[in-house]
Structures are given as C-alpha cells and as structure tokens.
Symmetry: C2
Subunit: 109 residues, 2 copies
DNA sequence: TTACTATATGAGTATATACTCATATAGTAT
DNA sequence: ATACTATATGAGTATATACTCATATAGTAA
C-alpha cells in the first residue's frame, strides 16, 4: 500500500477509535447493542443532558460508528455495523491482561 | 454488574480507545506489531520528532497498551498485549461497511 | 574527566474537546 | 392559529491534547 493511502487509513481508523474513546460514548454504544433508541431514551439511560448526548451522537455518526433516521419528532440512532462490538472483546482482553499483571506484581511483594 | 463498576469499566476502556485514537499512535502500534523498537527508530519510521513520539508512547503506556524496558541508553517499547491488534480487524470491518455504503449511494445517482 | 547519544519532561502556545445554557427548528396535538 | 415535545446547534467557558523548543537525566565512549 502506498504511504499516502496508509496515512489516510490511519486517520480514518483513529477517528473511529476517538469516537468511542469517551466513557459516555462507550456507554451509548453498549446501550445500542440491544437495539436502536431515540435521543431522549439514551439521555435518560446514561444520565446526561440531551444536548450533550446529541453532540456525542453526532461525533459517532461523523466517524461512521452510528447512523440515524427520523421517526416523527424523534430521531432514532443505531449501530451502523455490529463489528464495533468486537472492540469490547478487544478491550476485555487488554483489561484481563492488565489485571493478571497487577496481581502478579502484588504476589511479588 | 453494579453501576459504579460499569462506569469504571467504561472509563478504562475509553482510555484505551483514546490512547489509540490518533493517527501517529495507530501508526506506532502498527509498527510495533512486528516486534519491539526503540524510540529513535519509531520516530524515524513515522517521521515525527522524538520528543513528540516519546509523549505519544507515554500516553499508550499509561493506558496499558504498551510497555517498555531499558537497554543501555535506549528504551524499548512493545505491545503489552497482542489483542490490541484485534482492533485493526474491527476497524477494517467498519471501514468496509462504510465503503459498501458509499458505493451503494453512488449507484443510486 | 569531557563529549556524545537516547530519552524524558517543563514551559509555552495553538487547537480541540466537553459541557452548559439559551435558542432555533421541526413535528404533533389542541 | 397556539402550545407542547424532541432534537440540534450557536455561543461561551473550562479543560485537555498536540506540538515545539529548550533543558535535564542517564548511560556510553574517549
């Protein structure tokens, strides 16, 4: 792959990673894994202001993580691709490794 | 799982996602998948200032993505857990989906 | 010792992000 | 029409991040 293309790829991937690199946004993704939801229900679930939630949702739409459609007054958001959930598996692997290491260090004291 | 624990988990996961949510840092991770490297070689590979690379490396160490050891004058960095590479698979899935959608939209014109 | 190399970090600046409040828009219901 | 609801967004502020340059530290080599 040419270098410029690689740069572009890294940029897009970084944008996706950054889009889920916030506790509230991860919580939203986790909530949406069970099905699409409107803004106000998301806001209630995660306990944040609607305007703030709306912005977080925009960030994820811009990065291509979510998509949305209108239904009456409401706007319904859903995961654009379930493959984003793979991320959680990846994270569990990392955190388990970190936990293993911590307990190893503890045992050495 | 209790809510407070979930919050903490989301926070940790977000930190990891954010740690790889930057083009240069993704490029570093990609470079390190083939084996550990010292700061100056990483800096040369990705074409950035050493001090800047050093900071990016610190961010990833703090998030638990990388670990390092000293060898003489050099500091060698490596992936803490190969599971971080799963992230790239996850990303490819997302980007392929986005590409499919773009071409579908194009065909509808 | 001095000179050199690799890395880390303080300080400063520029930019980006997160958040809140107020307001605008769009649809619903009367 | 008015009143209401859901969502988005402009403006302001606070905080975080990325970057650069200069300097400090630690190890190597003469």
């Amino acid at each position: 792959m040419p270098d410029s293309k690689k740069q572009l790829l890294f940029q897009k991937q970084a944008r996706i990673a950054q889009a889920i690199g916030h506790p509230l946004r991860l919580e939203i993704v986790d909530f949406l894994k069970d099905g699409e939801q409107c803004v106000c229900d998301i806001a209630e679930q995660i306990g944040a202001e609607r305007s703030n939630v709306s912005r977080h949702l925009s960030v994820m739409v811009a990065a291509g993580v979510l998509e949305h459609r209108k239904e009456g007054l409401k706007v319904i958001y859903r995961l654009k691709c379930p493959c984003i959930l793979e991320f959680f598996k990846c994270m569990s692997g990392m955190l388990k490794q970190q936990a293993r290491e911590s307990s190893r260090l503890l045992n050495e004291l």
